[in-house]
């Protein structure tokens, strides 16, 4: 009996649920702190928690390649760049007061409305959709997909990266 067949027989739903709720709660709290914290480095660290949570959710969804890429690119490079930029410009310890703009109420109201709208729509539309158990994604299948169906997008993104690289060098040069 193949390994795949055996693993398919196991009922994973309980574990998946428990971890989903744990991670989701952490993510929401951390995301909230990104928006409310008074210190810019702390905001970056809370963002790391959210991103790591997203990577964990990817693993729960069976997307291991994307999960590890998420850690590698987002946590390992993007946030490090953020921290780098922070430290080059304004690495203060303690609370900073000019992080927020003065009138917050409209912003909070708009975002709240957005949240209510999207959540209610999502719940109404996808109420009874179960997560299927049959999606098997390996790194190989993802890469096959990238280099066949999505090859043009891949090339476009490569050119975009090159342009960003050159642009960043030009902008950051001493003038």
């Amino acid at each position: 009996m193949s390994a795949a067949a055996v693993l398919a027989d196991i009922d994973w739903h309980v574990e998946q649920q428990v971890f989903f709720y744990l991670i989701a709660t952490t993510q929401v709290v951390a995301a909230w702190r990104v928006v409310t914290t008074k210190n810019i480095v702390h905001a970056a660290l809370y963002l790391v928690v959210v991103l790591a949570g997203v990577a964990a959710q990817f693993i729960l969804l069976g997307a291991e390649f994307i999960a590890s890429t998420q850690v590698l690119v987002y946590i390992g490079a993007v946030i490090v760049l953020f921290l780098f930029g922070i430290m080059l410009t304004q690495a203060r310890i303690g609370a900073e007061n000019d992080l927020d703009q003065p009138n917050r109420l409209p912003a909070v109201l708009t975002a709240g409305l957005l949240a209510i709208l999207t959540v209610s729509t999502v719940i109404r539309t996808f109420e009874d959709v179960e997560l299927p158990d049959n999606s098997r994604t390996t790194t190989a299948s993802v890469s096959d997909s990238i280099f066949s169906d999505y090859i043009i997008a891949f090339e476009a993104v490569s050119v975009l990266l090159l342009a960003a690289l050159i642009g960043a060098i030009v902008v950051a040069r001493k003038d």
Partner: protein, 409 residues
């Protein structure tokens, strides 16, 4: 279905019960203890080896040959006063040592430390009637996991420097993070050649592909270049000499951990040496066949473990040798080496290996493919060096202009 998340360790082929969980826990505990003990021995080995090279005696008081010196140091650090600077960010200051320790532990999870990698072995052992791999987890994305964890190691250094609320640690940490981020690209690109050759990201598969003689080892199969790049970039990633600008004593006091004392300092110290051990283990796994080697009498998995330990020891020795003999690089030299030499070279070599691979698949002559792609790469290298020297000339001209009193802006 989660086959893709769990590694396909033969252990999980049957129903997963208490015995299987017990074996996994046992593996975790054994790996943890082994890593700690090896770090202890590594500190002693490094000090003793350097002493020998410098014609000194080195630690010789605690225990036979001073082998308990690390233990004594640990106890000393444990009983020292734990200082937290007044102007620090207390929470991040306390968090940082763990952030550098945990990734160091986690990388070791994917290293196969033994098993039957002989002529026709498949890298398994049979314990308590269960067949399994001698590694904690065989993640299908093993190599990516290693890269991800080594990119996480920046956080400990960066946050330690920032949260100390002091100038030198901040400078040290900014240096360190720039260094680690730039060398990670070379590290990943040199790994790409290995992945291309093996066709798998799993560390177990990579070790398995290298069985059956030295010619199959990736160090030869991919040409020597990726290994050399990986070794250099790995040394830089570890912040070890000659790339230890992070803690250049003459310039930065102690670097990012200047303000740390007591147990928190011990954690950084531990993480540094643990990273050295795991990086050596990764090099052995990726380039030197891991536990592969001839097996003789006795259980084959024990031979695998023996060969692995032997190769590991060689690389630990190499790292100490670097430290004892090479002078520290200047910061601009470090950046030049990383960006202008290692990254283009590893990228070019990766393309070269890929061209040979494709040529083999299509049945083209190896010599022709090698000559054509070599010529293309040489042309690329020529163009790049021309561009670099042109920009340098321009920079020098501008400098001369702004230095002269007449041309002052």
């Amino acid at each position: 279905m989660r086959t893709n998340v769990f590694a396909l360790d033969p252990l999980f082929l049957d129903d997963v019960g208490f015995e299987e969980v017990g074996i996994v826990l046992l593996k975790v505990v054994v790996a943890f203890v082994m890593l700690l003990v090896s770090v202890m021995l590594m500190v002693w080995f490094e000090r003793k080896f350097i002493s020998d090279m410098q014609n000194r005696i080195g630690p010789n008081v605690a225990g036979p040959f001073g082998i308990l010196q690390t233990f004594a140091d640990g106890i000393k650090l444990f009983f020292k006063e734990d200082l937290i600077p007044e102007r620090s960010d207390r929470f991040v200051f306390k968090l940082a040592p763990y952030l550098s320790l945990v990734p160091a532990f986690l990388v070791f999870v994917i290293v196969p430390i033994g098993g039957d990698f002989g002529e026709d072995g498949d890298g398994t052992v049979t314990w308590f009637g269960h067949e399994t791999f001698l590694q904690v987890a065989d993640a299908p994305v093993g190599v990516l996991f290693f890269l991800a964890m080594s990119s996480l190691a920046v956080y400990g250094v960066m946050l330690a420097g920032w949260s100390s609320g002091s100038k030198y640690p901040l400078l040290g940490s900014v240096r360190a993070s720039a260094q680690m981020v730039s060398y990670e690209a070379a590290l990943g690109l040199s790994l790409a050649a290995v992945i291309l050759k093996t066709g798998s990201l799993s560390s177990h598969d990579i070790a398995l592909a290298q069985t059956g003689g030295i010619v199959n080892w990736n160090v030869l199969a991919t040409g020597i270049v990726p290994f050399v790049i990986f070794l250099i970039a790995g040394t830089a990633e570890l912040n070890r000499p000659p790339f230890d600008l992070v803690e250049a004593e003459q310039e930065l006091v102690g670097g990012f951990h200047t303000e740390y004392s007591s147990l928190r300092f011990a954690l950084f110290f531990l993480a540094e040496f643990m990273n050295t051990v795991t990086m050596s283990a990764i090099i052995v796994t990726l380039f030197f066949g891991g536990p592969a080697g001839p097996t003789y009498a006795g259980p084959a998995w024990l031979w695998g473990m023996f060969w692995f330990m032997l190769k590991l020891l060689v690389f630990l020795g190499v790292f100490v040798w670097f430290r004892a003999t090479l002078p520290r690089l200047r910061y601009d030299q470090l950046m030049d080496l990383g960006w202008k030499i290692l990254i283009p070279l590893s990228l070019g070599w990766f393309l070269f290996v890929a061209a040979l691979e494709i040529g083999d698949n299509r049945g083209w002559s190896r010599v022709v493919v090698a000559i054509v792609s070599g010529a293309a790469l040489a042309l690329g290298a020529l163009l790049m060096s021309a561009a670099i020297s042109a920009s340098r000339r321009q920079r020098l001209d501008e400098q001369a202009e702004s230095d002269s009193p007449v041309g002052a802006r």
